[in-house]
Each structure stands twice: as C-alpha cells, then as structure tokens.
C-alpha cells in the first residue's frame, strides 16, 4: 500500500539540508542549478547588450571595462552610459517579477498582478503627484510605496465582504486601476507642460538614461526585499492551504498577509519609482518560473528574480536595437506579455 502511494507520488525533489547553528535550510539542488544557469545567462546577455549601440565595442573590451581594467576610450561608454542602463533593467525586472510572485501567491490567483489590480496605478499616481508638486526625485520611492500600499489597502477593503474572493478582487482592482489612471491623467492635464513632460516620460516606463544613483536605489531595494520575500515564501505556502488550515497550523494569518502585502508593495514601488510602470513583467515571469522550477518556494523566488532581470534586459535590448528608432521597454514587454496572458485566459478552466 505504502509502496504504491510512493510510486504514484511525483518524484521527490533532491533536497539537501544545510545547518548553520540555529538556522537550517533545505536546499533543492535542481533549483540551485537553475539559479546558476539563469545568473550565467543574465551575465552573458548583459555583456552582449553592452557591445551594442551606435559605438560598437568588442565583448572583451566590455568585460575589461566592467572589471575596471579597460582603456579610457571605452570606459566612458561602458561604465557611464551602458552599464547603469543594463543594471537598472536587470534589477527592475527582478523587483517587478518578485512583486508579481508575491501578489499571485497572496490572492491565490495566477491571473493577478500588481499592474492589473491597481497597485502600480496607485504608485504611479503618487509618484506623478510627487514629481509635479515637488519637482524633485528625492524620496520618490517612498511616495510610490505609500501610493502602492494605499491602493492595495483600498482594493482589499473594497473587496472584503466577509472574505476575499479572487474574482471580486480582480474586478475591484480593475476599478481602482481606472480611478487611479483617471487621477493621473488629470494631474498630467492640469499642470504646466514644462513640469509635465518629465512625468509623462516617466509614465511610459523606460530604463533610458539610467544613472548610478538609480542603480544604487534599485539595488538597495532588492537587497532588503529579496531575502525578506524569500523567507516569507514558507509562510505563504502555509497560507495557500487556506485560512483555516493555516490558522490551525498556528499561523497568524492576517499578520502574515499584511507582511506579504507590504513586501509586495515595496517591491513594485521601488521598481516603479525608478523605471516607471513597465507592464506585464510582474504578471508573466512568476508563471514562467513556476513552469520551469515548480511551485513557489524560497529558492524558486530567487529564480523568479533572475528570470525577471534577464527578461527585462532582453526586452530592453529589443526595444533599443531591433527597430531603427528606440522604443520604451514597456511597449516590448506588453507586446510579449499581453498575448501570453490572453492565451492563459483562453486556456483557463471554468473556475474563473
């Protein structure tokens, strides 16, 4: 009997346990391998991306400049112009993909992502307001974070009706999204054109003209939120068993949910405040990660970040070089992400 159950069960992952004093980690070697492959791929892609442009540079020279041993001739182009842009794309893509992973897990609905349910729109609204009234980018991530949290709370409260149904949450989110978008349009129409043009450029979503300051902010955000999210993935898997089960397992359900929501909002707010609302990365990459590496866990969470970074970088390369004119990267991510979403929607079962 036991043997037959074992035979029917899926192949158990090859887990290794790592103990460091009081802390112990279970490590899935396959996921670790995938992370390594994704990291190597991202690095190769980044090097190649930095060779492209109106001033082509050989890969060897790019790598040498990045490592700080290049000639002055290449150093300016690589270190001042191309490297910040490449790093911004990778970091922002990672942040966006992670926020999608958190929200999809949180509401237990694979069709949810922060750009559909109004989180990004709330962040955009506050960020545009900040840019227009204060005319500075200082503390912009904080403003975007406040906007994202307020939008998330609004969606949650308006969805609440003795419980949160996934479908109702999507519809309420679409409504909140529309309201925030209307308010943003209103701000853009209201303020003088000189102030607005910066905000409009920002709302198209682009990693164009990224600076080292942007990279530092994105990097700091990721350094704080990636470990936090990875640790919380364990709690999230318990939460996904349903509120009652989670509670009977001893989990403080509402507190876990709130923490996860704050982390998700933070992830999306940091990315959005620097690169603007780039669509469909948050939606698409968690799907791809789950498809390749299995259900979301701490390790898969890190893998999602790698994939997000590689994807946004690739999309930016396409946007920048595939056509005679360079496009904002958001156009490319929507062009790829939207059909994928529609395909999933078309294939999805009767439950939605």
């Amino acid at each position: 009997m036991a043997a037959s159950i074992d035979a029917a069960a899926p192949r158990p992952p090859r887990l290794r346990t790592l103990r460091l004093g009081a802390v112990s980690l279970r490590i899935d070697l396959r996921v670790l391998l995938l992370i390594a492959v994704a990291a190597a791929g991202t690095f190769a892609l980044a090097c190649w991306a930095m060779t492209l442009g109106s001033f082509p540079i050989a890969v060897v020279d790019v790598v040498r400049s990045v490592l700080g041993q290049g000639s002055d001739e290449y150093d300016f182009v690589v270190r001042t112009l191309r490297l910040p842009r490449v790093l911004s794309a990778v970091l922002a893509g990672a942040l966006l993909a992670l926020s999608g992973a958190v929200f999809q897990g949180l509401v237990r609905n694979a069709l949810v992502s922060p750009d559909i349910i109004g989180i990004n729109a709330g962040a955009s609204l506050f960020a545009v307001f900040w840019i227009l009234t204060l005319r500075s980018s200082a503390l912009l991530p904080v403003a975007a974070f406040v906007g994202a949290v307020l939008a998330a709370v609004l969606v949650y409260v308006l969805t609440w009706k003795g419980g949160v149904s996934g479908n109702r949450l999507i519809l309420v989110g679409i409504g909140v999204n529309a309201m925030c978008a209307a308010a943003t349009t209103f701000l853009i129409v209201r303020f003088p054109i000189d102030d607005v043009s910066r905000a409009v450029l920002w709302t198209t979503g682009s990693v164009y003209a990224s600076s080292w300051g942007d990279v530092a902010l994105l990097g700091a955000g990721l350094a704080v939120l990636l470990p936090a999210g990875a640790v919380l993935m364990w709690a999230m898997r318990v939460l996904q068993l349903g509120d009652q089960t989670a509670r009977s397992l001893g989990q403080a359900v509402e507190r876990t949910r709130l923490t996860l929501m704050l982390v998700g909002c933070g992830l999306s707010a940091v990315a959005i405040s620097i690169v603007g609302p780039i669509g469909f990365v948050a939606f698409m990459l968690p799907h791809v990660a789950r498809m390749v590496a299995g259900p979301m866990s701490g390790g898969v969470f890190v893998f999602t970040a790698m994939l997000g970074g590689a994807y946004l970088l690739a999309a930016d390369v396409v946007a920048q070089h595939a056509l005679p004119v360079s496009l904002p990267v958001g156009v490319v991510t929507s062009a790829l992400g939207a059909p994928y979403f529609l395909f999933l929607l078309w294939r999805t079962n009767a439950r939605l």
Binding site: I116, N167, G175, A182, T204, L345, W346, T348
Partner: protein, 346 residues
C-alpha cells in the same frame, strides 16, 4: 385566491403608468441639463441669452456668439454621444448576458483609438471626418477579439474572463498607440486633443458624419429591446421560445459597433458611461429592456453632459476633460457591481 388573481393587473398598470411618467421626467431632466450645458462655463450666460442664441440669433452679442459657436456644438455632441454610449452599454449587457459589458470594458475605445492613430501614422487620414471608418474597423475587430477570448475555453463566458480579456487587450493596444505617438510628433499633434476624450473643441462636421450611424444604431437597439429581453433569459430559454439567438446577437453586435464606433470618432474615448448608465436605470425600472433602453437614452445624456459641466466648473477657468470625469465617477460603479453577489460568484 381568486380575488388576488383579479387584482393582479392593477399594480402592473400603475407601474407602467409610473414608468411612463418617469420617462417623461427623465426627458425633462435631460432637457434641463442641455440648457445648463449652454449656460455654464468660464463665461456664464443667462438662460434667455442662451436660448436666444439658438432661436433668435444676434451676432453682435458676445454671449450669444459664445453659445452658438462653442456650446451648441458641444452640447449636441454630448447628447448624441451620451445617448449612444448608454444604449450601446445596455445592448451589450443584454446580448452578452454580462453585467460588466460596456464599450470601455470590451476594449472598443482602445481599438478605435489604435486604428485611428495607425491610420494617421501611415498617412491615410487627413480629415477628422474619416476617423469614423477607422473607429468602426478598430472597434469591431477589438470587441470581436475580446469577446472571442472571453468566451472561449472550457468555462465559456464569465464576467471576470471578459473583463480581464478587455483590460489586457486595451493595455496592449494602448501601449502600441503610445509607441506610435512617441515615434511621430505629427501624429501626436493630430490626435492629442481627440484622444483625451472631450466634448470641447470638436468639429460639428464630425458629428454630422457620425450622426446617421448613431441614429441608426440607437433606433435599431430600441426596436430590438423585446428581442434583448428574450435573449437575457439565457440561450436555452430563448431558443426554446423560437428565437434564432445567433442572428439576434449578430444584429445586436453590429448595432453596438455602429453606436460606439461613431461615438468614439466624434468625442474620443469616453469610458464608463455605457457601463454605468444601464445599471443606474435598472435600479429604478427593473430588468425590462423595453424600459431600460429608452431611459438609458436620457440618463446617458444627463450623465455625460453632467460630467462635462462638472469638468467645466471644478477648475474654472480651465477645464477637466469629460473622459477623466466619467472615469472618476464610473469606476466606483464597476466596484459596486463587482460587490453584487451574482457577479462575483459567476
């Protein structure tokens, strides 16, 4: 028992009478909003002057010139577009049996915008009057795509699937539209005002081009209201009653595209009127489309012109585009509908 049967027709008669009176009141209300729309703006005009501008025009009067050259076109476009969008929304909701259906949710506006911008970009469009045809094509293609994706798959149609498909297709088309606009400043300049969704500064010529379609579409939908009633019983019941459901749906779809395509061409993308108005009306008159659609005509006019007037007075002397006001007023409606039990559980 028998007394009850005898008494039954009485309340229904009274209901019909009161619905008729209500319709009359709605018409009066719409008329009053029209007059307000002539009067209110950065320059306030008296009722006498604004009516004189239409019936007894004195070219020497500044107020009357303002009314005649600016506010009359604006109000006329508002009336035509408001009525058409509201009726189109009601028709869509009946034909798709989906409370969330509406021109903006199904992506008709985004599709029309994309078609127009593409046509301008490739140099096919010079006159705003030609917008209408591209708006039709874009609106038709997009709504077909959204409806196709929303109804395909194992579960068939559901409000959530339809809404999601609409939102995603709209997002895709909007991002392509903005890419085209970024590539080409001239196109941006040509459609900048159109794409904001506003009744102000429109050419009456565009309205005259769009008007026949608006009238045909709206009249057709009103004449179809009985069929829409049957259709909203569900496909099985409608077929059992002898209705060719596919044919009726097809006619309804053509009418909806006529109405929304022409409305978008005339006033730009204006959201949520088509979604919200039929729901407001249903609260008052119940689910009978023979009443819902005529009421929608007047309530649509009131809502759109009311939103336009609100946009004029909130930020005097400048204005807020009516598309922004309708989204701010209409989006809460979407949330309200989503909180209704029957939608969320579908």
């Amino acid at each position: 028992m028998s007394a009850e049967v005898v008494q039954r027709p009485l309340p229904r008669l009274r209901l019909r009478w009161s619905r008729g009176a209500g319709l009359f009141l709605c018409a009066l209300g719409a008329l009053a909003v029209c007059v307000l729309s002539l009067r209110i703006g950065s320059l306030d005009v008296s009722t006498a002057d604004s009516l004189a501008a239409i019936f007894d025009y004195d070219a020497g009067s500044y107020e009357q010139t303002v009314v005649r050259s600016l506010r009359v076109p604006r109000t006329l476009i508002g009336v035509a577009v408001g009525a058409a969008l509201a009726v189109a929304g009601g028709t869509m909701q009946a034909a798709t049996r989906n409370p969330l259906a509406g021109p903006s949710i199904l992506g008709v506006s985004a599709g029309a915008s994309f078609a127009i911008v593409t046509a301008i970009y490739f140099g096919q469009l010079t006159e705003p009057m030609q917008y209408v045809w591209f708006a039709f094509a874009g609106g038709l293609a997009t709504s077909a795509l959204v409806y196709g994706i929303g109804t395909a798959g194992a579960g068939g149609a559901s409000p959530v699937k339809l809404a999601l498909a609409g939102v995603i297709v709209s997002a895709l088309l909007t991002s392509w539209t903005s890419a085209l606009l970024l590539l080409d400043r001239e196109t941006l300049d040509a459609v900048r005002f159109w794409s904001a969704g506003s009744l102000a500064g429109r050419d009456l010529q565009v309205l005259w081009t769009a008007l026949p379609f608006l009238i045909v579409g709206t009249t057709g939908a009103l004449l179809m209201s009985h069929q829409l009633n049957v259709l909203s019983l569900g496909d099985d019941a409608a077929r059992a009653l002898g209705m060719h459901t596919g044919r009726v749906r097809g006619v309804a779809a053509v009418l909806v595209v006529l109405m929304t395509g022409a409305a978008v061409a005339a006033a730009g993308p204006i959201g949520f009127v088509g979604l919200a108005v039929p729901h407001i009306v249903r609260v008052v008159v119940g689910p009978d489309y023979r009443w819902v659609l005529p009421y929608s005509v007047f309530v649509g006019v009131m809502l759109l012109l009311g939103a336009d007037i609100l946009g004029r007075i909130l930020m005097r002397p400048s204005e807020i585009q009516v598309g922004i006001v309708t989204a701010a007023v209409g989006a809460p409606f979407l949330i309200w509908i989503a909180r209704q039990r029957r939608v969320a559980d579908v």
